[in-house]
Every structure is written in structure tokens, then in C-alpha cells.
């Protein structure tokens, strides 16, 4: 090799004095900002605006707010939602924190089993759980009560799903994995020295756990609590399936009523706006509570970690995990499975009650069911792709600080995380359903709504992934002659592949079961499995509903299986 240089052969460098005013990539940044505005900012803005508009005329008015909050029943709905959210979140914390502690820090047996249960409870759509619990805990016909009566001769039911606590409990049984994931990942970061320091001063295992370990993960517990609260007040399926027979009206079912003829989006918007205030309030409270103390979970600095030896107590904890497993997964799945293969589920398990008719009806005789399966798959796949691509680019800009106000972009991408899903859906309806775009009922609208709703999940995983790739990796490519996009494609993207796939799969799974965001937006041919399943529950035809739920679970499980194979066992439950 000689000392001469190769610069002349480098594309474009024949004129190295050609100066750059605008990188072509700037156009991409502008497009990204536009996409975020379309997906996040515009629907919320439009909703805010029309909440002050008179229907048809568009004249400014505060009448919508007076209507939305002018009736006892509507106020009751708000109160019920707030109570339900609080109760569900509290129950979730009680269920999940001991499990998280046991799995993360102790020598409890059956940790793999506990993981599997948490995962299963997480992928089970909440409305399927609700149906399972209707079959389990209906005051007269529920399996638990039937067994209870035959064992004790009692006349009163042991449990009743059609109550406020019943509903909160059922919701919690499918929300607790969020607390588990949050708390466990925080616990994983605590050095055993923290506990050793308490032990050496005379604190036993339990004192140490209560006074040192748990307080250290307090932010995660609070974060999980708030998230479940927000998810619960946005839940539509469970309140419709359990809340109507239990005669409990909540915000979501009330919003649905505002969509009755004549469709009062304006009033619905006015009714939903305060939910945003609640969200902002919660975040403020969280900030306030966590303002001064230092928490390990935020610094993420580890140290040596050892398992706490529990002695016989480890079996008590394991028993707790088994109990949660029974309640959240095993029992509901069993009754759903039984119902899906039953001619009449109330007759119980017997061979003359077995049939494949429910599946046959859905797969071969139902006009919409196969279409809904297909819709679910391709809507979820497309929205997951949009969310991941968008999130990746935004996270890239934010992490690499490529433009000013990058943080504002990151904020927009994270915003749907704290906006109740149903509020987002109404925003989408308000902004895009009607003229001039008239996207109501179109696949595009649903895909965009899903992409927006789950953008934060994709964003969080992209951000963590990009942080893990040293910027010098790309700079090394650029100095050797590749443009920014080429460098991203050749170097960054391959390095991110696994985490991006993980993020994609998680979005796919949560999108495939999403109901709240879809229910206001679907059209006749664009119904998803979740919406069709909800339509099927109207008649209380639980055999067919269960069979459809079974199909949904099989699809989800296939995707989870693929994910575990490609990305790793715990891809769903990593907190990124």
C-alpha cells in the first residue's frame, strides 16, 4: 500500500468543498414530527376543541361540560371509575409485590412456574378473564359457588362476581403482572449489601424487607399502581360484561352511551377531558412523593446479589403464587375451555355435553369470524410495525440529541402511555372519523389508533436498545464513508434487531386483544376479534364466546412462542 489516499474514489468527495446546508435526512425528521402530531397531538387537541363546540354549528359553548356533568348518574360513573381504578390497583399491588419479592430476592421454589403464570395472566385479555369469572363466580351458577354449596350445604353464594369488589378483583387478576414486572426489575437492582447493612444492625429478614428492601422499590410500586389505575379506568370490556349485570356504571360505559343516537362526541369529549386532569394529577403526586429520597431503582447500580434464605416460609410464599395462579389463569382457563367444547356450559363436564360445534360455527359458518381473525392479525402487525419504526426513529433522535427540542418529541411519543386508551380512541374519532377524512370504520383508522396507543411500549424498548449501542459504532461507519441512514441500516439496525423484534411482538400481542380503542372506530368489515367477541357476549352465548377466546389465545400463544424462540424467554416481561 502506498501513502497516497483513496479519497478521490469516495462518492461525492471529488468536490469536498461542496458545503452542506441541509442534510437530506432533515426531511425525515420533519416527517417524523408530522407523524407524531397526527398520531398523538392532533386527536387530543381536536378533542379538547370540540368539547367546547356546539354540535353541527361549532359555536363556542360550555354546554357540553354542563351536560356531561349535569346528572347524578354521570357523576356516579366518574366516582365508580375512580374507586374501581384505586381498588384494582391496590389489589394488584397486594397480589404482585410478594411474588416479585419472592422471585427476585429469595430462595422460593417454583420461580419458573411463577414466571409462566405472570406471563399467562399478562397475555390473557381482560375481557376473557371476565367471562371466565362470570362462569366461575356467578352467584348461583358459578362453579365455585356450586361446589361451595354442595360441600357445605350453604344457600348463600361464597363469591359473587357481580359486585364492585368482584369486578375490581377480576380486573386486578389480569393487571397485577404490570406491578410484578415493575417491582421485580427494581428489586433485581438492589445490592444485597443494602440488606446486609440492615441485618448487621440487628434487622431480621422480615424487618429488613419491610423497612429497607420494599421502601427502596417504592417508586416502582407507585408506578405500577398508577399504570393499573389508568388502565382500569380505560377498560371497556370488563365493565360491560360484569358491570351491567352488577349495575355499576363507569366512565367507559357512560362514554359509550354518549355515542348513542344522536352521537354526542362533543359531550363525550367534555366527559373525557377530566380524565386527562386525573392523569396529570397522578403524575404530579408521583413526582411529589418521590421528589427527595434517593432510590436505587433509578440509578440502576448493582452490586452482589444473594438470595434471602426463607426456611419453611418459602413454601408459604410459593403457596401464595400457586393461589394467584389458580385464580388468575388456571381456573378461568379451565372453565373457558370447558365452555368452548360444551353444548351448554351450565351442564358441566360430561361426554354427552362435548361438541366441536362452537369452533365449527366460528371457523366455517360465521361470516365475520375468520375475517375478524385476519383483521386482528394484520391490524396488529401493521400497527406494531408503524409503532416500532416511528419509535425507533424518535428514540434515535432523542438519544443522540440530533435536533433541538428532541425531548419534546420523546414526550409526545410517551404521552399515550398515561392517556387512558378510551380517551385516545375518542380523540381519534373526533379528529379523523368524520369529514374531511371520513376514516370511520376504515382499517387505516384502527391501525393508526393502535399504533398511537402502543407507541410508548415501542418507544421505551427502542430507547433502551439505542442507549445500549455506543454512538461511536455509527460514527465509525460514517467516517469510513457511509451516510447517516446507511449507517443506521448497516450498523445500528442489525445491533437493535433483537430488542426491536421483542418490542414489535409485545405491541402485536397487546394490540391483538385491544378493545377500548377499537370499539368506537370499527366498521362492519373491520371488526377485530376483540370487538366481535364483545358483540358475541351481548347474547351471553358463552360457549361460542369461549371458543372464540380460545382461538384468540392460540394465536397469541403462537406469537409468544415465536417471540421466546427468537428473542428470549422473558421478552414479554422485561421492563425496558
Amino acid at each position: 500500500m502506498s501513502a497516497s489516499t483513496d479519497t478521490a474514489t469516495l462518492a461525492g468527495s471529488q468536490r469536498p468543498s461542496r458545503l452542506r446546508l441541509l442534510e437530506p435526512i432533515t426531511i425525515l425528521w420533519v416527517a417524523l414530527i408530522a407523524a407524531l402530531l397526527v398520531l398523538v397531538a392532533l386527536p387530543l387537541l381536536k378533542m379538547f376543541v370540540i368539547s367546547f363546540e356546539e354540535q353541527d354549528t361549532g359555536v363556542f359553548t360550555i354546554q357540553n361540560y354542563l351536560t356531561a356533568y349535569g346528572r347524578q348518574r354521570y357523576l356516579d360513573a366518574v366516582r365508580n371509575s375512580l374507586l374501581l381504578g384505586t381498588l384494582s390497583a391496590a389489589i394488584s399491588v397486594v397480589l404482585a409485590v410478594p411474588m416479585a419479592w419472592a422471585v427476585s430476592r429469595t430462595d422460593m421454589p417454583g420461580k419458573g412456574f411463577t414466571w409462566a403464570i405472570v406471563l399467562a395472566a399478562f397475555i390473557m385479555p381482560p375481557y376473557l378473564g371476565a367471562i371466565g369469572w362470570v362462569l366461575l363466580a356467578g352467584p348461583n351458577s358459578g362453579w365455585i359457588n356450586v361446589v361451595w354449596r354442595s360441600l357445605t350445604g350453604a344457600t348463600d353464594p361464597l363469591v359473587n362476581v357481580y359486585t364492585f369488589t368482584g369486578m375490581a378483583f377480576v380486573i386486578a387478576l389480569h393487571s397485577f403482572p404490570l406491578v410484578f414486572i415493575f417491582v421485580k426489575s427494581a428489586l433485581d437492582l438492589i445490592s444485597s449489601e443494602m440488606e446486609d447493612a440492615a441485618n448487621i444492625l440487628g434487622g431480621g429478614t422480615w424487618v429488613t424487607m419491610r423497612k429497607v428492601t420494599l421502601p427502596l422499590v417504592w417508586p416502582s410500586i407507585l408506578g405500577g399502581f398508577i399504570l393499573i389505575f389508568l388502565e382500569t379506568i380505560a377498560l371497556f370490556g370488563t365493565p360491560a360484561i360484569i358491570g351491567i349485570p352488577a349495575r355499576i356504571n363507569v366512565v367507559t360505559t357512560q362514554l359509550w352511551q354518549f355515542f348513542e343516537d344522536p352521537v354526542r362526541v362533543e359531550v363525550a369529549s367534555a366527559f373525557a377531558m377530566p380524565l386527562l386532569l386525573v392523569t396529570i394529577g397522578l403524575i404530579a403526586v408521583q413526582k411529589l412523593l418521590l421528589a427527595r429520597k434517593g432510590f436505587v431503582s433509578q440509578t440502576g447500580k448493582g452490586g452482589e446479589r444473594r438470595q434471602v434464605k426463607l426456611g419453611p416460609w418459602r413454601w408459604v410464599l410459593f403457596g401464595w403464587c400457586v393461589l394467584v395462579a389458580l385464580l388468575s389463569v388456571v381456573k378461568p382457563l379451565m372453565v373457558l375451555l370447558q365452555a368452548s367444547f360444551a353444548k351448554a356450559w351450565g351442564r358441566g363436564f360430561s361426554f354427552d355435553n362435548l361438541t366441536l360445534r362452537n369452533y365449527q360455527f366460528l371457523l366455517f359458518e360465521h361470516d365475520m369470524a375468520p375475517q375478524a381473525v385476519w383483521n386482528t392479525v394484520w391490524f396488529s402487525a401493521t400497527s406494531a410495525t408503524i409503532a416500532v419504526v416511528l419509535a425507533l426513529l424518535v428514540a434515535y433522535i432523542v438519544v443522540r440529541r440530533l435536533i433541538r427540542f428532541a425531548d419534546a418529541l420523546g414526550f409526545l411519543a410517551m404521552a399515550p402511555f398515561v392517556i387512558p386508551g378510551i380517551v385516545m380512541a375518542i380523540g381519534f374519532y373526533a379528529a379523523y372519523a368524520g369529514p374531511p377524512l371520513s376514516l370511520y370504520g376504515s382499517a387505516l383508522l384502527i391501525i393508526l389508533a393502535f399504533a398511537s396507543r402502543f407507541l410508548p411500549i415501542a418507544y421505551a424498548s427502542s430507547q433502551a436498545a439505542i442507549r445500549a449501542v455506543h454512538p461511536e459504532m455509527e460514527e465509525a461507519a460514517r467516517i469510513l464513508g457511509s451516510g447517516r441512514l446507511h449507517a443506521i441500516r448497516k450498523v445500528t439496525a442489525p445491533l437493535l434487531k433483537t430488542s426491536l423484534l421483542g418490542g414489535w411482538l409485545v405491541v402485536f400481542i397487546v394490540a391483538s386483544r385491544e378493545l377500548s380503542a377499537a370499539i368506537f372506530l370499527v366498521g362492519p368489515r373491520t371488526r377485530t376479534m376483540s370487538v366481535l367477541l364483545y358483540d358475541l357476549t351481548e347474547q351471553g352465548n358463552f360457549e361460542v364466546v369461549s371458543a372464540f377466546g380460545g382461538i384468540l389465545l392460540v394465536i397469541t400463544m403462537a406469537i409468544v412462542g415465536i417471540g421466546m424462540k427468537l428473542v428470549g424467554r422473558d421478552f414479554m416481561l422485561r421492563r425496558e
Partner: protein, 322 residues
């Protein structure tokens, strides 16, 4: 194929499909009707969008508000909807030729032919025979107000089911304005569809279904469930329900063909196997039903339904909380 049918079929085939918002028949029956239509007219696919009547009407309202046309044929069990739709000029004038061959009471729903009867629902009482003997079971609509049925009744919801709205309107006219309040004291379990109480009886969750459709009850009983119909002494609530073609129907010819199918004998021949009433004298009524001429048929007018149901729905919600 009749000549008028063949012409419509030719035109319909160019459109290729028809979207039917179906709320008059159960999910199973609706799917069977859709399949039969698609089989009878190859190349014209029937998209069945089955829901309760109020939900179907809500979808229609959302379509309209968004300026989107998705529905061809709208079939609600709340006839009041058609008075409203006609008033708002949202229906297409069309009289199916087959309408002339229907039962006399179903021949003319609208003198201007904007909508046409396409179903006749019979709503009555039912009971689970394992939980309540025939002797104990309520005999009349008045009986269900008896406190002894507290916590034993199940009913649909007028915010969802169109028929329940019609039924409650009829009850209110018979028992006075505080009927709902008195009924509520017995704490009936509230479902959504009028068919939901059938499931509740089958499961043994509630002993007596109030305002259950005869068709779904008989269908469930035919599958071996311990259910029985009760014909209340005051009479059954008969809900003749129309269908109509939307003025902005994307597939107007297929919609007309579907209306012909709805009113023709083919439909009744299918639905009677699922225990729905036959709409035509040339198709016998389903088995297990009392002949229509032997029972008292109670029914508010379509105009009453248009005026009364929205207000009744609000009253219901204030009383029941949901």
C-alpha cells in the same frame, strides 16, 4: 328465480355484496340467513353485522356523523328507529314484490314503502324447570312484580335490545308509569340482549327470564336445556320489526335483492328451523309455538316506539343505574 328477482340479481352481482346490520335475529340465525342468501345468489356476499338493535342504530348514527356509508340494509327490532330514519330522509323507497305474499299483519309497515316488515319477534316469559316448577312459575306479566321473585329474574336492557325497549313501553302502558321502579325492586339481573336471560336460565343463574324471545328459548330447549315458555295471561309482546334500505347504501341493488329475500319464503323456511315465527302463510310456523291466532298480541305502534323508547331508556338508566 322470478323475473323481478333475476333483474335485481344481475344488478346486485355487479355490486358483489350487501352489508346487513342485523338485530332482529339471534347471531346463529343471522349467520344462517346470511349464508343462505350468499348460497342462493352466488356472487353476492352477505356481510352479517349482528348486534343488539340500539348498538346497530348507534353504529348507523356513527356512520352518518362521520359521513361514511357502510350499511345497506338496516334491521332493528325497535320500529321507532324507522320513523326517525324516514323523518330524516335516510331511507330508500322500495316495496319488495314478495311483501304481498306475507301475513296480512306484516304486509305494510309504511304506507310510503320506505321500510318493510322482515321479522316478527314474540317476547314472553320463560323458566328453568329444574329451578321452578310449572305450578310455581309466574303466569302473567303482573306476577313478575311479586316480591317472591326477588333475585330470581333476568331481563335484557333497553339501552341495547330494541325489543326490550318495546316490551318495557308496553308494560308501562299496561301497569302505569312506575312499572320500571316496581320491577326494579325485584332486582332482576340485567343483561344486554333480550337473549341474554335465556343463557342465564340455561346456566341456572336465574330461574325466570322476562321478555325472552320465543325463538331463542325454544332453540335452547331443543338442545336439551330445561327451559319452558310461559304465555302470560295478558298476552305476549309481539314485535313486528321492519328492515329498510339506507338512502346512502353503497350496494342499492343488492340491498333490494336482500329485501326481497327477507320478505320471501326462503327466509321463513330457514328461520323456522331456528324457531323464529314464519312471516308468510305459505311457510308453517315453527314447532313448539302457539299459533299466532290463539294468543293475544300486545304491541305499541311504531310511532309510540319512536316517541317513547328514548325517554324510557333514560328512565331505565336512572332507575337501574346502568
Amino acid at each position: 328465480m322470478e323475473p323481478h328477482e333475476r333483474d335485481l340479481y344481475e344488478a346486485a352481482r355487479r355490486e358483489g355484496q350487501v352489508t346487513w346490520y342485523s338485530a332482529q335475529y339471534s347471531a346463529d340465525t343471522s349467520e344462517a340467513i346470511g349464508r343462505a342468501f350468499t348460497e342462493r345468489y352466488p356472487g353476492v356476499r352477505c356481510s352479517v353485522v349482528r348486534s343488539t338493535s340500539q348498538v346497530a342504530f348507534q353504529r348507523l348514527s356513527q356512520d352518518q356523523r362521520a359521513g361514511v356509508a357502510q350499511c345497506d340494509v338496516f334491521a332493528s327490532s325497535n320500529g321507532g328507529h324507522y320513523i326517525q330514519l324516514k323523518r330524516q330522509n335516510r331511507l330508500t323507497q322500495f316495496r319488495p314484490v314478495n311483501a304481498d305474499g306475507m301475513l296480512p299483519m306484516l304486509r305494510t309497515a309504511d304506507p310510503d314503502n320506505y321500510f318493510q316488515y322482515s321479522s316478527l319477534g314474540i317476547y314472553l316469559l320463560g323458566h328453568n324447570t329444574n329451578m321452578v316448577s310449572d305450578a310455581e312459575a309466574p303466569k302473567s306479566w303482573a306476577d313478575v312484580l311479586d316480591p317472591k321473585w326477588k333475585d330470581k329474574l333476568a331481563v335484557g336492557h333497553p339501552g341495547f335490545s330494541g325489543a326490550i325497549g318495546i316490551w318495557a313501553l308496553q308494560m308501562r302502558s299496561m301497569f302505569g308509569p312506575d312499572f320500571l321502579r316496581r320491577f326494579e325492586r325485584n332486582k332482576p339481573q340485567v343483561g344486554r340482549s333480550s337473549i341474554d336471560p335465556v343463557t342465564m336460565m340455561t346456566a341456572g343463574e336465574r330461574a325466570v327470564g322476562v321478555a325472552v324471545p320465543s325463538a331463542s328459548t325454544l332453540f335452547a330447549a331443543s338442545r336439551g336445556n330445561p327451559l319452558k315458555l310461559i304465555y302470560p295471561t295478558e298476552g305476549v309482546v309481539a314485535v313486528p320489526a321492519p328492515s329498510a334500505i339506507m338512502s346512502n347504501a353503497p350496494n342499492p341493488n343488492a340491498a333490494k335483492l336482500f329485501m326481497e329475500f327477507n320478505t320471501g319464503p326462503a327466509l321463513s323456511r330457514i328461520t323456522r328451523t331456528m324457531f323464529s315465527e314464519s312471516l308468510r302463510p305459505d311457510v308453517p310456523p315453527p314447532e313448539g309455538c302457539r299459533p299466532l291466532d290463539q294468543v293475544t298480541l300486545l304491541s305499541p305502534s311504531l310511532e309510540d316506539a319512536d316517541r317513547g323508547v328514548p325517554e324510557l331508556r333514560e328512565q331505565w338508566r336512572d332507575i337501574f343505574g346502568v
